[in-house]
């Protein structure tokens, strides 16, 4: 079972085989997606017809619209980026405020609030989506019936998508930032205060620099989760589709390998993000 105990040879072989099979299971779907982005055929399916970059570079004149000329896809990547940036900014800001609230302040009802802050993580994303959709529509109807004001931002569309994703991503940001704030040595703040620094200066020069890794980590997770979100977004989306919704629609119709191209682009982008974060992380630990 563990290396310090005698392990029969068959068990060692079985373990290695299992790990090998597991890695194949993990990576085959991703490898297949990447490989068929370069297949010279109109569908991402075998057999192999030769190597091409058409699914990246092709434009209308070549009969194959590649990723870099597919306005719809590029537009949806931009939409997703915009939404993710808003969600990230909101989640990190509110998450940091929540962390200070839960770690530093005392007030009645704090225990209830602490549990409430975790509930968005156990509500299925689809339900978060429909409940926010229904509530926002009720508010919009109310505004239009009573004041004659058309509150378009409360109708399905990007502002609602941002709010829907924010509603649970902020819970994760709160957990990440709280965990680091909890380990902070408060005597450092006292020392700075004793030396005559103002509260604002202490926050800016002592506490926030200490929280930096957690803030960056929370931002990266928030961006990634927002970019990849499907369930909540599906219920709240209006005319502009973020990338996941656009891809879903095309996958149902049976799309060309341009989807593989955009997937490969996503894989490379998230791999770069992961590597940057891990490098930061290992440097911070040294």
């Amino acid at each position: 079972m563990i290396p310090s105990l005698p392990r029969p040879a068959w068990l060692r072989t079985a373990t290695n085989l299992y790990v090998g099979a597991f890695l194949v299971f993990l990576f085959v779907p991703l490898v297949v997606v990447a490989v068929f982005a370069f297949n010279d055929a109109p569908y991402p399916a075998p057999p192999w017809h030769g190597f091409t970059l058409d699914w990246f570079l092709g434009n209308e004149s070549s009969g194959r619209v590649g990723l870099f000329h597919d306005r719809e896809l590029l537009g949806s990547i931009w939409t997703s980026t915009l939404v993710a940036l808003c969600v990230t900014a909101l989640s990190v800001a509110v998450g940091a405020a929540n962390a200070f609230l839960m770690e530093r302040a005392t007030f009645p009802g704090k225990g209830v609030l602490a549990v409430l802050m975790l509930t968005p993580l156990v509500i299925p994303g689809v339900i978060l989506g429909i409940s926010i959709l229904a509530f926002a529509s009720r508010l919009a109807d109310f505004a239009s019936d009573t004041f004659g004001v058309e509150a378009d931002f409360l109708r399905p569309g990007l502002p609602l998508v941002v709010l829907g994703q924010f509603s649970y991503i902020v819970a994760i940001a709160t957990l990440t930032i709280s965990a680091r704030l909890k380990r902070f040595d408060r005597t450092l703040e006292d020392a700075a205060l004793n030396l005559g620094a103002s509260h604002a200066a202490v926050l800016w020069n002592v506490t926030l620099p200490y929280l930096r890794p957690a803030l960056i980590g929370a931002a990266a997770i928030a961006f990634l989760m927002s970019f990849e979100n499907f369930n909540t977004t599906l219920m709240l989306v209006g005319a502009d589709s973020p990338l996941t919704i656009m891809m879903y629609g095309r996958m149902r119709e049976g799309a060309t390998p341009v989807l593989n191209a955009v997937s490969l682009f996503l894989m490379v982008a998230s791999a770069l993000l992961a590597l940057t974060l891990m490098r930061r992380d290992s440097r911070a630990r040294r």
Partner: protein, 294 residues
């Protein structure tokens, strides 16, 4: 100096109010009120245009219409099965990462296990579709090897949905399992072995009891995510998927029957909450500890 104390007090209150405001706006505005509204919606019935009366009609429809509750039960059972399978697949890998592999190898293996989950679920599902569809990689490989005479359609089966769900859920099981295996002292296992314990007994009496919190955390999260999944069942199961979230979507977005959709949503939320509660009760843990672990 009563004057200064008052300023300090006042300032403290102001800071507290400023910190409380975003948290309350978030929880009340985006979580509590929308769910209260959803509940109200589910308990009313339209009798005339823009005229509603309180009623249980939506819930009655759910029980009267076999399609609804069949799909509901089916989704719950398949989710439970997917959770059990995920646990079975993840358990040995987590053990290897935490106990068998050492140093760099263990860190590397752990990292490699996380990589696919940096990629969106849409991309992963696309991969499975290319692999499994009738014109896809695996069926043509099987024909090539002479195992099947014709390419077979491997998409649109319950087993396909399960494969996709297990694949998507693995991360959420591996991470808490590795955490709880790592905290298990090797000396305990050695002592059990020296006292004559066999592999199975050690697993049953030492490893599983110790890892119970991690197992529960993983199972709760995986079950909840599987139950609420939409993308994987609809794409890998096609028309045969019959996943409950699909009916929610149909009622809300396609048919615009929000009252019925709200009732179905509440039933799904109820099931999900009940399973979380049950998991916590069975393992005797607190909600907040489990969520931090996951």
């Amino acid at each position: 100096m009563p004057d200064t104390t008052m300023t300090v007090n006042w300032r403290r209150r102001l800071v507290l109010a400023l910190l409380l405001a975003p948290a309350l706006l978030w929880l009340v505005g985006l979580i509590i009120l929308p769910h209260v509204d959803l509940a109200l919606l589910s308990f009313r019935e339209r009798v005339a245009p823009r005229e509603y009366v309180p009623s249980l009609a939506q819930y009655r429809t759910f029980f009267a219409e076999p399609l609804y509750w069949h799909v509901f039960v089916r989704t719950a059972l398949l989710s439970a099965l997917a959770t059990a399978l995920t646990l079975a697949v993840a358990f040995p890998i987590a053990w290897v990462i935490a106990k068998v592999a050492r140093g760099r190898a263990s860190a590397l293996l752990f990292m490699v296990c996380l990589i696919p989950f940096w990629v969106s679920e849409t991309v992963r599902t696309l991969g499975w579709m290319i692999l499994l569809r009738e014109s896809g990689v695996l069926p043509s490989l099987l024909t090539h090897l002479g195992i099947t005479a014709q390419p077979v359609e491997l998409l649109y089966h319950d087993a396909t949905i399960l494969v996709g769900l297990v694949y998507t859920s693995l991360l959420f099981m591996v991470v808490p399992l590795v955490g709880s295996f790592e905290s298990l002292d090797n000396e305990l296992i050695e002592a059990a072995y020296d006292l004559g314990g066999k592999g199975g007994a050690i697993l049953r009496e030492i490893v599983i009891p110790h890892a119970a919190p991690g197992i529960t955390a993983g199972c709760i999260v995986v079950f909840m995510l599987t139950l609420g999944n939409y993308l994987t069942p609809t794409l890998l199961g096609g028309k045969n998927s019959q996943w409950f979230t699909e009916q929610l979507y149909t009622q809300f977005i396609t048919r615009f029957n929000w009252e019925q959709g709200a009732a179905l949503g509440f039933l799904l939320l109820g099931l999900s909450t009940a399973m979380v509660w049950l998991g916590l009760k069975l393992s005797g843990q607190r909600f907040s500890d489990v969520m931090r672990r996951a």
